[in-house]
């Protein structure tokens, strides 16, 4: 027992050395490795870990030096490494329905076996659940709060069918104060308001840079595809509010601008431009990108990655704390279908796309509900072909390659015919 602190100090020194080494590198893989190593060694470095939903207000956590961990980002990693189906089956054997969200199922299962590509997420000290993305997260986080026996903070954002009412404004704003009190209690110290302001500014800057990166795909040929955006997205989701994000996206933006200047496209021969809707089919992103590239089709934009900079218009960077309530409430998944359709139409125009490819995601009801209406609106307003494919973001059992393949081939035949190709 006496030797424990020494061993811990030894490991801490080792981890710190490795982290310092990796920090000098600027690749996404290294940045994410450092991030997860820091989170996994949080206990020895006496830092707190909070699990938070993907659309949750993370800036107060960063300001309190709490490490935010995202089960949904982890879900994407599980999906991309094709480990989702096994974990979903594990959740089903635990008694969860196969109709539930595959992110929720894989996370719940993963916590009990420390499975997945990184051997499970670090144990949380608290959970932050914001229901601006869906209702499933409430039950999901309650389950995890019971499992880990840690406090749970629920940040309730009312659905904005049209606009943002005064009642909603007051209701959400007040919860921010409660959120800060919750964090102060969990961490045992006061929130540093000046630090929060700095974090807020960094968050806004990061979102602006991310928007600028995505904007480069409006060029023809597009220097990056939405598949690239799915990859580079990890930082704006997980480390929003830190200088790391600024550095990374500044460099990425430079790289993309350089490609634009030199006329380098993301796919060899871009002839058709498509817009994507919904979360990627993670286990099949490579297959899909090759499939589309074989048709000379470039996925130039999507409603998913643009959601992490979609509410900049509501944020006042000089008054971040006050304005973040509205920004977090009015995100893409928490607004009425008419407003969603307006956003999709704006993307169609901005990126000059020839077609809209929608993923009806078995797992994600809030994202998939309304797609048939949005499709109708886009077909009527812009006259471009739209197609819906049925799949799941993580669970390969909901994917039929030959069916999806035929649909995409037929969709591309229609687009080629319309464009006279």
């Amino acid at each position: 027992m006496k030797k424990m602190p020494e061993i811990m100090l030894f490991f801490l020194a080792k981890i710190k050395k490795l982290i310092l080494h990796l920090r000098k590198k600027k690749r996404m893989k290294d940045i994410m490795m450092v991030y997860y190593m820091e989170a996994k060694s949080a206990r020895i470095s006496r830092r707190k870990v909070a699990w938070i939903t993907s659309g949750g207000p993370v800036e107060p956590l960063i300001a309190m030096d709490v490490i935010p961990v995202y089960p949904e980002n982890h879900g994407a990693m599980i999906g991309a490494s094709k480990m989702g189906t096994d974990l979903c089956e594990k959740a089903e054997s635990m008694g969860y329905s196969s109709d539930l969200c595959s992110y929720a199922c894989s996370d719940i299962a993963c916590a009990t076996v420390n499975g997945g590509p990184i051997g499970g997420l670090p144990r949380p000290d608290m959970l932050i659940c914001c229901n601006n993305i869906c209702g499933t997260v409430l039950k999901w986080y309650e389950i995890q709060a019971r499992y880990f026996n840690v406090p749970l903070f629920i940040f309730d954002t009312p659905f904005c069918h049209m606009g943002y009412t005064q009642e909603a404004r007051k209701y959400v704003r007040r919860q921010l104060d409660e959120y800060v009190i919750f964090l102060e209690e969990a961490c045992g110290r006061k929130m540093d308001q000046d630090r929060l302001k700095v974090v807020g500014k960094l968050s806004v800057e990061g979102q602006r840079l991310w928007q600028a990166v995505l904007d480069t795909a409006a060029n023809r040929p597009a220097p990056m595809t939405a598949f690239d955006a799915f990859y580079h997205l990890a930082l704006i989701v997980t480390l929003r509010g830190t200088p790391l994000v600024i550095d990374y996206y500044t460099q990425l933006l430079e790289k993309m601008k350089d490609r634009v200047a030199r006329g380098i496209g993301a796919i060899p021969n871009e002839r058709y431009r498509l817009l994507w809707d919904n979360i990627p089919i993670w286990p099949r992103t490579r297959w899909l990108s090759e499939k589309l590239a074989s048709h000379d089709a470039c996925l130039v934009a999507d409603t998913y990655t643009s959601a992490w900079c979609g509410t900049l218009k509501y944020i006042d960077e000089n008054n971040f704390f006050e304005s973040m309530a509205e920004a977090y409430t009015r995100i893409y998944l928490n607004i009425g279908i008419d407003e969603m359709a307006r956003i999709v139409l704006a993307l169609v125009d901005k990126y000059k796309v020839d077609g809209l490819l929608m993923h009806s995601n078995r797992s994600c009801k809030p994202y998939s509900l309304g797609q048939y209406d949005i499709r109708k609106i886009v077909e009527k307003e812009r006259g471009i072909p739209c197609m819906i494919i049925e799949a799941d973001m993580l669970d390969e059992r909901s994917f039929s390659e030959s069916q999806v393949s035929t649909r995409i081939d037929a969709f591309m035949e229609i687009i080629k015919e319309r464009k006279g190709g």
């Binding site: 072909p385 649909r407 037929a410 035949e413």
Partner: protein, 256 residues
């Protein structure tokens, strides 16, 4: 110019040969387990029947689920564009095509020039397809060819509610054991298929005149149930089952 279309479906493989815009001949065989061989075989047999050498055919297009397994063709195209083109070729007035094949069903809406405007296909599962009917015919111990005529004699079609082929089969089995008349059960099966197709047709915005293609079009009971559900006349051509192959041969004429 002589062109050909080969449609390799999940149950049957079809071929059609066109000469200067006229149908020279068509052929249908069972696909079996080797779709590549089936595509070649149906084509060879048809050429032999017509007394043609391979070299006489300028261009060949393959379609259907096994389209990519037919290696000797000039191009592969999807069933959607081939069925649309085939239907327009056989009757230029046609604006919508309902195609029910072995493992999928689709509704294709055409513009007045025969170009595909929009389409919808069955979701992940194969309920309401040719395979679904085969399973039901086996459960009822009725020859599939007799299905259509029998169902027209039904007085009171049974309700088949399950969308899943396996569950629907057990519904059928329990109806049999309750002593329900075969005609009524078969008519119920046809109505359940028609309901599924009609929902898809309305979603995609079906426009008359409508033609039905694919092997299931031979089933007069399904056609009747569809007409009732859609409240529209559904035409069936004598070439319904080879419509996709004909469309392929027509498209092959315009290949660059």
């Amino acid at each position: 110019m002589i062109t050909a279309g080969i449609d390799v479906g999940s149950i049957t493989a079809k071929a059609a040969v066109l000469a200067d815009g006229k149908i020279l001949g068509t052929r249908i065989i069972f696909t079996g387990y080797n779709s590549e061989a089936a595509g070649g075989k149906v084509y060879e047999e048809l050429l032999e029947e017509l007394g043609l050498e391979r070299s006489a055919v300028s261009r060949v297009i393959s379609t259907g689920y096994g389209r990519r397994s037919v290696k000797f063709v000039d191009k592969s195209m999807t069933e959607i564009i081939c069925h649309g083109t085939g239907a327009h070729y056989l009757n230029p007035r046609i604006r919508s095509v309902i195609d029910i094949g072995g493992q999928d069903s689709k509704v294709i809406v055409l513009d007045d020039k025969g170009k595909v405007k929009n389409f919808a296909m069955n979701d992940k599962c194969a309920a309401g397809t040719g395979r679904f009917l085969e399973v039901m015919a086996r459960a009822l111990e009725v020859d599939l060819d007799g299905f259509g005529a029998l169902s027209l004699k039904a007085g009171n079609p049974s309700g088949i509610s399950s969308l899943c082929t396996v569950f629907a089969e057990s519904e059928v089995i329990s109806l049999i054991s309750r002593g329900e008349r075969r005609e009524n059960i078969i008519a119920g099966i046809h109505e359940s298929i028609a309901a599924r197709i009609a929902a898809m047709a309305n979603r995609v915005g079906i426009i008359p005149p409508v033609v039905m293609t694919g092997g299931v079009a031979k089933n007069i009971g399904v056609v009747a149930a569809l007409q009732k559900k859609l409240e529209m006349t559904v035409e069936v051509s004598e070439y319904a089952q080879v419509n996709g192959a004909i469309g392929g041969a027509v498209l092959a004429v315009g290949l660059k």
